[in-house]
Amino acid sequence: MFRHFLQPILAALLFISAAAPLHGNESLGEMWGTAKAEEKYYPIVDIPIPTTVPLRPGGLEFLPDGRLAVGTRRGDIYFIKGITASPPAPEFHLFASGQDEIFSLAWREGAMLATSWGELTRIRDLDGDEVADSYEALSAGWGYGEYHEFAFASKPDPRGDIWIALGLSSSYVSNNLFRGWVVRVTPQGEMIPVCSGLRSPAGVGPDANGTMFTVESQGPWNGCNSLKPVIPGAFLGHPASYNWYPFTRDMKAPAVEPATPSRMATERARIKELVPPAVLFPYIKMGRSLSGFRLAETGGKFGPFDGQIFIGDYTQSIIVRATTEKVNGVWQGACYPFREGLATGIMNVEFSPQGQLIAGGFTTNRQWPVRGERPFALQRIDWSGITPFEIREIRIQPDGFVIDFTLPIDPATAADTANYKVSTYTHIYHAGYGSPEVDHTHPTVTAAEPAADGMSVRIRLDRITRDHIHDFDLSGVTSRTGEDLLHRKAYYTVNEIPQ
């Protein structure tokens, strides 16, 4: 299966014929097998949806009054009260309707900002009857004329700007203005192109440092899904969108096009604008079609993962985590399994003011297989208050890594280097679709030194390889109370090695 997760939507709409995406006998990937264990720490709560409401969530946003706003495929926006209560007692109010498919929502100064394929719409209720009557096109400045041209948007940044990631016209080409770019729309409606080189991005949002990132899909020039930093002037890897530089005020296309087939590190040396993905999500092991994401800023209400990014996956109906850090001026980081067993294809996630993670999405009939079976669903992941024993975060060091844990570790198992299995691999960077994992190495863990407080371990490797995913398996490490790790895997993407 080599196609982007949202392809099914178009397939569902139009092309039932040509582009059947997936080998039916192929599995959607092994389950992690951790759903039952996860339930104890992060129970999934179902939000009941009346049969009269075609919810199919795309965009999610919490209103200042605590209601959840849901923008739907049908082009409706519902305000839902009572969603954070236990058990949930939702009351649905239809705020706006008649829009194109909504992929993102953001509330700004008394107005709902809804992003659909071709427009960022500012939706307001002017007469105070709680039903929208003004649908202002804040920007429709990008092209929309083909069935693959998705548009996902961020929440307002500190300046109030909305960042919108624009999918290509197909996997390979950009036929309409700024397709494959991220653009920024100011509160006044001015559209400012930011950077080029995307294929079919989904969610857009900041990490804990305030840097904007977008989720990218596996496909041409992308060996697997990734989190890419949205840096002004950058070229993010897929050259189909070079053609729109002449339509910017003062940006210039990179002088060089990437060679194919190649490696990311090789091409970075050739193309100064090329910015590598910060976090790679090994295909199938860590999702097949990552979608919307959100930074956890819950003040600890969601457990030990504040400051981390939580990302939904459409095909596998899972949630994964990611962390980022800047090394030698380049963004990189790691990803970790978090929760599986959601009910439908996850399109977006959002944190409630109470620190619960809301996840919503839908399936698209038979055009695109999804593990979760419900045609659409809205679910809430609560933290039970019990801290799971997890790898909290991995950070790079000149000769190894620091691994943070959520609970104190057992010093004996944590000091045993045999309990740290590390392998590395990368992808072919090329114009072809996806990539196998290649150039495998098997570094030796030469030392494992638990910290005095038991909350982290410093490991040393005989070598670290640039441009490689470092694949960790910490099966043998237990907590001080003898618990196994809830998830033993983590994946760190090394773009740079600190000096």
Binding site: A18, R73, S97, L126, F247
Partner: protein, 906 residues
């Protein structure tokens, strides 16, 4: 069996069919007597039964009577075009021996009194005569098994099988008792002629006993393919084309058969279109003259070749690989061997080639001559050669033996028979003597007895109203589906054939409604709609409500009205009507009695059930009946799911209208009286793709056929609609009636024939009279922003109608379409554009309409195809010819606001 028309294989076919028919006869007692569907299901008294028989056998065609008997009687099929409709062999054999060929037919055997040899000759001559009447020949064709499978379902669910016999897996009649016989249709019709008949049965059978089932789209065609699947015509191979996730194999639930038929070889180019991700199965027989090793060579992505029962090549298809080449060899003895090839058109650059190398022959495609669809090759249909002398003789026979008396559309003189009044109960057709010289109807003794009883009064039977109704319901076999006062209703054996698209509604959702008391229930207007104009409310009942024609059923409307009487309900004095309607709105909605939890409202529902649409209640129901029904639904349907909401006369919603039951019922009636325009009740589901307009406008956005990707569809309360392109800020489509169907980011207009306007921005400064009006192409990426346009969105007025806003250079435009009705005319749009300019603007053109043909009607009126554009006061326009032709309104704006109005009528 003689006759120059018959070739030996055809003779064989007819012989076989006669045998089959006889076999069928033996298991059906009394099947040889003429079958009247309605009589088979009921046992009316002899007088009524006899009268019905006299009418259905069309006795009056020979035995004239100065009464309404002729009008009441069933006319025989029209024969003017029979040559194109029926197989010539069938015509001949049917004339020769109607009761053998089609047991149960009402056609009398007129040739029986003749000596056998003469019988053959007369039948042949009449056949030649009939064939000479119409130039379009009969043309048999092979059926499509995929269509036939769909037709099977339709035949059994639409109501065909309510009167005709249900069929078994091989599509043969099971011979259910009381079935109106069809005989062996495969020897009789072609697919096209049967389809034409099913679409307009009354053209051929004007008396409506075979009703018009109002089949939709290609349903008639599908049923024909089903009924005629035994037709054999020569060909090389049978094929079936599959679509879907074909790499899972053709048995996958994600693969559907799309079509099938016969083809002249293993050649995709012979099929209309074999798209990517499809599979084709070829099946047939391979004729081997020279035994020996045969090599087969295949190029394909995946597939399976089976010859003589052996799987020679099997290659699993994959969406992700390129075609490969495969070879296999088998030693074949001389003879005929089955051959089957499953081919998958999938993966990268799909390619197909299939060749064979036979002993001593060059490698190449298998020639059609070596293939056949049947093991024994069918013989081709040979159109008859009409002998004019014979035809002339046939014409004489047609008159002399009395065919023309019933088949009176050919303007031939009828044969003289004794008048009706002089008929004797035991003579002529009724003498029961198989050697009698009279026409033979094959009556049973019981039928004869009934006719004898009815004979004296049959011309003017003087039945009372209730009996009249009984007689019509029986003659037309309404009672095959409906029951009335214990009469009829689906027979036990047929009950399961009645199905519903909403099984949860139970029997009321699948079985046509009872006619008991129907005259007290339905308004005469609605009854007229149902009986004469195809009016229908229960779309979930899969059986059709067929049409019988005005002459057959119009009298029922007033008969039902007279016969069915109920006591008068006491209707209360209603106070202010708006207050009553508001209470009705509340009662119908989710917080009131939640009628919409079960019932549809204007095509939408509020729950899982979608029972009868209550937005049409006052159109359909008599007010008196509504009141009585609401008080006690179970009185009218003992098994209804509908509960009573006023148990013991007390309302379950005491807070509305002070809990006054009578007032509440009246309030619901008053509210529903606004029909589809009523304000949508609370709690209607949005989980439907069909957008309906109530008392406010509805909007949908996305791709549509006319607007491209940035479309906005608006349905207005006055039942007119438009599609606007927010990309070019231009009007693209107008239509009346139903609004739109949405499908996740796309919409398409429902309702009647939309008017489509060409693409292009609304305003432009033409650089020359010849300049093409600008529109968005594939490569003008910055268009129309490069011409100063910017889309600003819209606001909604109190009726939720949009005021579009956009910018053209320095000018900000508010563009409002208002749905207007004046008097009795149909609704139209008044479009008001308000231009707000910061300073005086250089002149530009407003293209108010464009199309293929534009005519100026007057200074202020232009006609563009079916559309009329009327200019507002003080406006003038020029007509610019071209493709399209355009109505251009020159505008020169001063600083400040300028208002321009135009109207669109169609």
């Amino acid at each position: 069996m003689t006759g120059i028309l018959l070739s030996p294989p055809q003779l064989f076919a007819i012989a076989r069919f006669a045998v089959l028919t006889l076999a069928a006869m033996t298991c059906l007692p009394c099947v040889a007597e003429p079958v009247i569907g309605g009589l088979a299901n009921t046992r009316p008294d002899a007088a009524l039964r006899g009268t019905i028989l006299i009418e259905e056998m069309n006795c009056v065609a020979c035995h004239s009577a100065p009464s309404t008997l002729a009008a009441r009687s069933k006319a025989a099929p029209r024969l003017a075009e029979v040559a194109s409709r029926l197989h010539p062999d069938y015509i001949e054999s049917f004339i020769r021996s109607p009761h053998t060929v089609k047991p149960g037919t009402t056609m009398p055997d007129l040739l029986a009194p003749l000596p056998a040899a003469e019988r053959d000759e007369v039948a042949k001559a009449i056949t030649h005569y009939l064939l000479s009447l119409h130039p379009t020949p009969f043309a048999p064709a092979v059926h499509d098994p995929v269509a036939a499978a769909a037709g099977n379902r339709l035949f059994h669910s639409r109501g065909c099988a309510a009167c005709h016999s249900p069929r078994d897996d091989a599509a043969r009649e099971t011979g259910m008792e009381g079935s109106v016989p069809l005989g062996a249709l495969e020897h009789r019709y072609s697919i096209s002629s049967l389809t034409a008949f099913l679409r307009h049965p009354h053209k051929v059978r004007p008396s409506g006993r075979m009703p018009d089932l109002r089949l939709k789209d290609n349903e008639a065609d599908l049923i024909s393919h089903y009924l005629l699947q035994q037709v054999r015509i020569p060909g090389a191979l049978r094929y079936t084309l599959y679509r879907g996730l074909v790499w899972e194999g053709i048995d996958s639930e994600n693969v559907t058969a799309e079509k099938g038929g016969q083809v002249d070889g293993f050649d995709l180019t012979l099929l209309e279109r074999v798209p990517h991700n499809s599979a084709v199965v070829f099946e047939g027989w391979l004729h081997i003259d020279e035994p020996g090793p045969h090599e087969f060579h295949l190029a394909m992505n995946g597939g399976k070749l089976t010859v003589a029962g052996k799987d020679l090549i099997t290659e699993a298809p994959s969406e992700r690989k390129e075609p490969g080449e495969f070879h296999a060899s088998i030693d074949l003895p001389g003879g005929i061997h089955p051959i089957r090839l499953e081919y998958y058109q999938t993966g990268r650059e799909p390619r197909f080639a299939f060749e064979m190398q036979a002993p001593g022959k060059p490698r190449g495609p298998i020639p059609a001559a070596m293939l056949s669809v049947e093991k024994e090759r069918a013989s081709a249909y040979v159109p008859p050669v009409i002998d004019p002398d014979l035809a002339a003789k046939g014409r004489e026979h047609f008159t002399s033996i009395g065919c023309a008396n019933c088949h009176d559309d050919l303007d031939l003189a009828p044969k003289e028979f004794p008048p009706f009044a002089s008929l004797k109960a035991d003579q002529g057709c009724l003498d029961g003597d198989s050697n009698s010289p009279s026409p033979r109807f094959g009556f049973s003794e019981e039928q004869r007895a009934a006719i004898r009883t009815a004979l004296p009064k049959a011309a003017e039977p003087g039945f009372d109203d209730a009996t009249q109704i009984h007689k019509t319901l029986t003659s037309l076999n309404c009672i095959a589906c409906h029951q009335r006062d214990g009469l009829g209703g689906p027979s036990q054996g047929r009950l399961d054939l009645f199905t519903s698209t909403q099984p949860a509604l139970g029997d009321q959702g699948r079985i046509p409604p009872t006619l008991t008391g129907v005259g007290a229930k339905l308004t005469k207007e609605w009854m007229t709609q149902v009986l004469l104009h195809g009016g229908r409310q229960r779309d979930y009942v899969e059986a059709s409500m067929p049409q019988y024609g005005e002459a057959q059923v119009e009298h029922l409307i007033s008969l039902f009205d007279r016969v069915d009487q109920l006591e008068e309900a006491k209707l209360p004095e209603v106070g202010p009507i708006l207050e009553s309607k508001a209470a009705g709105y509340e009662l119908v909605g989710a917080r009131g009695l939640a009628c919409i939890a079960c019932h549809q409202f204007n095509g939408q529902s509020g729950g899982d059930l979608a029972a009868l649409d209550i937005a049409h209640v006052p159109q359909r129901l008599k007010r008196n009946w509504f009141d009585l029904y609401m008080r006690q639904p179970s009185r009218f349907h003992s098994t209804t799911i509908m509960p009573g909401f006023w148990p013991d006369g007390k309302s379950v919603r005491p807070n509305i209208l002070e809990g006054d039951s009578a007032q509440q019922i009246e309030a619901i009636w008053n509210y529903l009286s606004d029909g589809e325009r009523a304000r949508k009740p609370e709690g209607l589901s949005r989980e439907t793709n069909v957008l309906r307009v109530g008392d406010v406008a509805e909007i949908c956005r996305g791709r549509s056929p006319s607007t491209g990707f940035r479309g906005i569809g608006v349905g207005y309360p006055e039942r007119i609609n438009l599609a606007f392109d927010a990309g070019e800020m231009t009007l693209r489509q107008l239509w009346h009636g139903n609004f739109a169907t949405v499908d996740f980011g796309a919409f398409k207009p429902n309702g009647a024939e939309p008017i489509t306007l060409p693409p292009g921005i609304p305003f432009h400064r033409l650089s020359s009279p010849e300049e093409n009006w600008p529109y968005k192409g594939k490569s003008n990426h910055a268009f129309p922003a490069d011409l100063g346009y910017q889309w600003l969105g819209y606001t909604l007025d109190e009726k939720r109608r949009p005021l579009f806003r956009y910018r053209y250079g320095q000018i900000t435009i508010t563009d409002f379409f208002e749905d207007v009705t004046d008097g009795n005319k149909s609704a139209y749009f008044r479009r008001t554009l308000v231009f707000d300019a910061p300073s005086a603007q250089e002149s530009f053109s407003f293209r108010a309409a464009a199309g293929d043909s534009v005519k100026k009607e007057s200074e202020r009126s232009y006609v563009i195809g079916r559309l009329r554009l009327v200019l507002g006061p003080d406006l003038t326009a020029t007509l610019r010819d071209g493709t399209p032709s355009e109505v251009l309104i020159p505008l020169t704006l001063p600083a400040g606001k300028t208002t321009v109005t135009v109207e669109y009528h169609w």
